[in-house]
Amino acid sequence: MPSTDDALVLTGIGHEYRGGSGPVPALDGIDLSLAAGEHLVVVGPSGSGKSTLLRLIAGFLRPTRGEIAAGGVPVRGPGPDRGMVFQQPTLFPWLSVRANVEFGLRTAGVPRERRREVAGERLAQVGLADAGRMRTYELSGGMRQRVAIARALAPDPGVLLMDEPFGALDALTRERLQDEVRALWSATGKTIVSITHDVDEAVRLGSRLVVLSARPGRIVLDETSGLPRSPDPRAEPGFAPLRDRLASAVRAAAA
């Protein structure tokens, strides 16, 4: 049941893009409420509106129908209470790594000393304590996404949004970053909404799993994962059945 302490409440969300050849329905009838501290992972076939959903929550787009509330406040646009990690790294190349992480503190007028301190902490949290002086274009893809996560976390948002953050990375780096996100989530207790194509990743990371159907995206599966958060859910007996349920839901949705 949605309650006001829920970190995120979506009611009757529908979204249509105005395309060249008429409206493109991307999402339809999305009802979802997420308690604080949950990690919701959204899975679905390509074009099912996953990115659209995240952009609506971030406030980059206004929904055609329905209401979104974050922390009990209706979403009217982007804000520092919802940090975003994009699929394509959107670091500012004209700033150093540290200045990128400090950006959300600078906009809030946080004094310089405090900014440095927080940026240092966040970078250490993602394993990049020594990279502060580097330029963003000197970083590998995995390092960039780490910096993007640190940057999104710096203003201490209530909700962290991640759009296929590891989609472009190799398997090994991807696994390492998954571990880091799990550790981060346990340590900070942040509410997280992330997107992935990878069912295994979804089950490893999510405490709540949602599958969207093909266009227009509707929720076809909404499950709470009972798996313990650590050390690695893959070792749990419940892992394989949950992953299989998710995988068949995605397959059915794509068909």
Binding site: T90, F92, F103, T107, A108
Partner: protein, 279 residues
């Protein structure tokens, strides 16, 4: 050639492949340049020497050189060559500095505010197509024949290209860079100053180069009215008295100093945005 003089190439052999492609080709380019300049001078000297045209049409290189020495020491129409050049350079600097400042501000507004784009965009394009000599008369009527019309001419000439370059760059900003900034709490002015402006820096710096170039080509026009001291004024004066050697000297001085300044700006252009081309 003695043996020791030939020895060095041998130890350099391991790094040779790369060196061979860079060093000699660069040296060759330089050599070709020296050769072409030398050839041109020689041709000039030969034609002048043959007296195909009288010296008042084509003075020999020696006469121009003598004028260079004379105007540098004794001066021409009351000022030395150095004074003429410095006065013009100062005008170029001041004019293109204001032109750049105004152009960047106007470009940001045009790029960011649709209403401003609709209102001022066509005007900027219109002014940009006007040759500076065409509006000099108006500026002289408005500002007299002192320093103001000259500076204004350079400002008016250099502002539009910077504004256009900036406006284009602004419109090329990645929407997700802006989205990222907005979800990091950036207010509109912070987005403009901390995202749009640095994003546009490469194009702006190219715009500055264009502005200085335009100011350079316009300074002679600016100095056609009461332009002494000033290189353009000096050329104008020399033309009145058929001092062809001084005219040619003025051209050479403007050309060489322009090349030098362009070199400086290219270097600046490279350092101002090291991320260019590798986001």
């Amino acid at each position: 050639m003695s043996a020791p003089a030939e020895a060095p190439p041998a130890p350099a052999a391991p790094t040779a492949p790369r060196r061979r492609r860079e060093g000699p080709s660069r040296r060759r380019a330089l050599g070709l340049r020296v050769l072409s300049v030398g050839g041109l001078l020689l041709l000039w000297w030969a034609v002048a020497r043959a007296q195909v045209w009288p010296p008042v049409v084509l003075p020999p290189p020696g006469a121009v050189w003598a004028q260079a020495v004379a105007t540098s020491t004794e001066g021409y129409s009351g000022h030395t060559l150095g004074e003429h050049l410095l006065t013009s350079l100062r005008r170029i600097l001041v004019g293109s500095a204001w032109g750049t400042l105004g152009g960047v501000l106007l470009g940001l507004l045009i790029g960011l505010v649709p209403a401003v784009r609709a209102m001022l965009g066509p005007l900027v394009t219109f002014v940009r197509t006007l040759p500076p000599l065409a509006y000099l008369s108006l500026l002289v009527i408005w500002f007299g024949i002192g320093e103001e019309p000259k500076i204004w001419l350079l400002v008016v000439a250099s502002l539009p290209p910077v504004a256009v370059a900036t406006a284009d760059a602004v419109r090329g900003v990645d929407p997700d860079h802006l989205n990222a900034a907005r979800s990091l709490g950036a207010r509109p002015w912070q987005q403009a100053l901390w995202v749009v402006l640095p994003h546009s820096l490469p194009e702006i710096s190219t715009g500055v180069r264009i502005a200085v170039g335009v100011a350079y080509t316009s300074v002679v026009a600016a100095e056609t009215v009461n332009g002494v001291p000033g290189i353009g004024g000096m050329i104008r004066e020399a033309q009145r008295f058929n001092h062809t050697d001084v005219v040619i000297l003025g051209l050479i001085v403007i050309g060489l100093s322009g090349l030098l300044i362009d070199r400086l700006l290219v270097t600046l252009d490279r350092t101002v945005a090291p991320w260019r081309g590798r986001t």
